[in-house]
Amino acid sequence: MTDLNTSAKNTWCPGCGNFAILGSIKAVINALIEEGTPKEKIVIVSGIGCHAKIADYLNVNSFYSLHGRVVPVATAIKLANPELKVIGFAGDGDCYGEGLEHLLFAAKRNVDITMIVHNNRVYGLTTGQYTPTSPLGYKGRSTPGGSKELPINPLEIALASGATYVARGFSNNMDLMKKLFKEGILHKGFALVDVLQVCVTFFNMYDYYNKKAYELVDHNTGRFDDAMKKLREWDYNMNVPIALGTFYKKEDTTFDENYHQPDIDKNKRLLKIQELLKKYI
């Protein structure tokens, strides 16, 4: 087992769902290393928010970026070097709010990165405001009378935009998280794993999710329409059963593999420039 701990002191609240995500990804990274992926080829990218501290807590290559900007950074790292396994961590405010546009484009491009979204449906680090996935009527510090808008269903948006792997996990189900994270990382193409991660301080949904969540069985992950139907069952607002697991999985060409970059002799740049300039006369 590779020691993936750092010297950083963990400052998540006791009982935070992020611990389970950290534990799961450590297990998955260790498994990947044991199966032959060199540790240096693993890169994690985080945004800003409670989730993002994971960059400090994992002793692997990391890129602690900006709020909402995990996806463009992860996309670029993959484009720069397709040999890398790039795993993005983001919050729901981060990835479904300020950075939603990037998520759509990554799905549209089917770039081979994995996004793990710590979806606690509340802004934690800024102390309890509603997010794009908070239920209607959520009472937070910016919506004391209750939020006046319906949540978005991020999985529906990702699938509609072209994501080729779409799954939902729950921070109280580590075995499933490990399975989904690994599947997502090994999937060739854009993978989104939305994790219902519980914020014990501002929006404690443990009991609710424990009651409502169920794991998908006999679901055909290869059919778009089935996936869409299934992931629309719960719209992040209604009081209905919540499906967990893989909704959709399909192999397709990826953005990064379409970037052909021939080897050129770098010492010949000037010569090539001068050759090219002959056409400018």
Partner: protein, 561 residues
């Protein structure tokens, strides 16, 4: 001996391409050229024109007075009457314009461009080839020269274009408006400022380029996208300038030399990424093309209003390199230097341009080694010694931490937008916070030492000790100021690097000068405002902010006031 030709018509009628052909024809006669392009921000209609100027010296400004007017429509005569001299030769489409439309007494040749183009079953845009043929005949440019330039530059329907040009050539008569050969020298390539910037970046080892299209720097995106295979570049056009800047930092993290290009509005969206790049010490080059604002302003016109924006953009305090080239040669050499500097000092590096430089045409001389000389601008790489583990933000004497990129065996590379310790782990400790801020700022001190070896301030015009008056200019005003400085006996001082400001060299250049005149394309005197913080001040300011560059005549009149 010099020559000015104006060609005009409706936007979308091919004026742009024709002006480039004319420039190349003149170039073949041994002139050095400059092309000023004036076009509205629309795709079809409206008036578009270019002024092609040829001279026996390096130039980068147009003249208001013209020797030839090539008129594809009526507007051309009406709008450019004031530019005509007694000797101006007007060549026009006689199917659109009648002789009574032409100012009385002027030399003119009406050619039935529309009729000829129709007879040849050609699309209307090929009228351009016809008028170019007539222009060659009237100006005494040999058919062989036109034939060669067409072959080099037209990639579609070459035969038909040549045929139509020949009809235009045969239809016209030789006139006494002959353009004499200027020299026997081999013509130098004709490029835009955007081409020169692109080539400079490529020469310095560019590996990736990202941009969201925006005038006036879209040309950099188009050029590099076109050349991506040839130079092994990854060129990406992402969803927004926010993505552009953040993606650039991702490329830099993986060790790829990267640049982005935009204009002020796009740069607004890049500022969070810029500040991040500074904090994370990820090298990025930003090509920033200024245009008149505020806001959307005049998208296709020129100005120098973003100097202070570039100097101050981004939250927090951090060092940055800013260079403002004045012509294609400087754009080529300094863009390369900007990339090298970004990598050596792991800081944001700007190439500040404007529409005049970016979209104007110039001769490019890549053999000229005058700009960059002795400075050693290689990045500092990690030696792989892992006793203490790799530290991305290791504190060193120069503030520059050795670079390792993912994937490097035994190196965990941690980048962080928060304040961080040497290993890249988040910190809020006061001691480390101060140390890290000092470390980042320290890099500027060593950059200044490198810049001392480069020509960061250029002096032209009257360099004698007797020159008591100096024109101070920056960026694309270089050319007009040099020509008038020489004509009027004034010294011309051009700070090329604007951050870190080359205070000592600037002071040196001002030695003996008693009066300074600042020439700028903005309404507040942005360079003057910058140098004031170093204790310098202007005696006079000549500011132009109508979206148009100074012509020779514009500035001469102002200087003589």
């Amino acid at each position: 001996m010099e020559i000015s030709i104006l060609i005009g018509g409706k936007a979308g009628e091919g004026i742009d391409q024709s002006s480039l052909i004319i420039a190349k024809l003149i170039n073949q006669l041994g002139y050095q050229i400059y092309v000023y392009r004036d076009y509205p921000s629309i795709i079809r209609g409206g008036h578009t024109f270019s002024i092609i100027r040829g001279a026996q010296r390096k130039i980068s400004v147009h003249s208001d007075k013209i020797d030839f007017l090539l008129a594809l429509n009526e507007d051309c005569i009406e709008l450019h009457k004031n530019r005509l001299k007694e000797s101006t030769c007007i060549i026009y489409d006689s199917d659109v314009l009648k002789p009574e439309n032409i100012p009385a007494g002027s030399k003119s040749a009406g050619i039935p461009l529309t009729k000829i183009t129709k007879e040849e079953n050609a699309i209307p845009i090929m009228k351009n080839s016809c008028i170019l043929g007539s222009f060659c005949r009237a100006s005494g440019i040999k058919w062989e020269v036109l034939d060669q330039v067409f072959r080099n530059n037209l990639h579609k329907e070459l035969d038909q274009n040549l045929k139509i040009a020949r009809r235009g050539y045969d239809e016209a008569k030789e006139t006494d408006c002959k353009i004499p050969k200027a020299s026997e020298k081999t013509p130098m390539p004709v490029v835009t400022g955007n081409d020169a910037i692109s080539l400079g970046l490529v020469n310095a080892g560019l590996e990736a380029f990202l941009a969201y299209p925006m005038t006036p720097t879209s040309g950099v995106l188009h050029f590099l996208a076109q050349q991506a295979e040839e130079f092994s570049l990854k060129v990406v056009h992402p969803e927004s300038e926010i993505a552009v800047m953040l993606m650039a930092t991702g490329f830099a993290y993986a060790g790829k030399r990267v640049a982005v290009a935009t204009s002020g509005g796009g740069f607004c969206l890049m500022t969070e990424g810029l500040s991040f790049a500074a904090m994370a010490e990820l090298p990025v080059v930003i090509v920033l093309g200024q245009r008149p604002g505020p806001s959307t302003g005049l998208p296709t016109y020129t100005c120098q209003t973003e100097l202070h924006f570039a100097l101050n953009a981004g939250q927090g305090e951090f060092a940055r390199f800013i260079v403002a080239p004045g012509d294609a040669d400087e754009a080529y050499y300094w863009s390369a230097a900007a990339l090298d500097i970004a990598w050596k000092y792991q800081m944001p590096s700007f190439v500040l341009t404007d529409k005049t430089l970016s979209e104007g045409n110039f001769n490019l001389n890549t053999d000229s080694k005058c700009f960059i000389s002795k400075a050693e601008l290689s990045p500092v790489l990690w030696d792989g010694n892992n006793a203490a583990g790799y530290k991305r933000y290791q504190i060193t004497e120069t503030g520059v931490s050795p670079l390792a990129f993912v994937p490097t065996k035994d190196a965990v590379v941690k980048i962080n937008s928060y304040e961080h310790d040497e290993a890249g782990i988040t910190t809020e400790e006061p001691d480390i916070t101060k140390k890290m801020q000092d470390k980042r700022l320290l890099k500027e001190k060593y950059l200044i030492q490198d810049l001392d070896k480069l020509r960061t301030v250029e002096v032209y015009g009257n360099k004698d000790a007797s020159a008591k008056t100096a024109i101070v200019c920056w960026g694309s005003n270089k050319g007009v100021c040099i020509e008038l400085g020489e004509k009027l006996g004034l010294k011309v001082i051009q700070p090329v690097v604007l951050s870190p400001f080359p205070e000592n060299k600037f002071r040196e250049a001002l030695k003996g000068v008693e009066k300074t005149i600042y020439v700028e394309n903005n309404s507040t005197g942005q360079l003057e405002r910058l140098v004031r913080t170093y204790g310098f001040k202007a005696d006079k300011m000549i500011l132009k902010y109508d979206g148009r560059p100074f012509s020779l005549e514009d500035l001469e009149e102002e200087l003589k006031k």
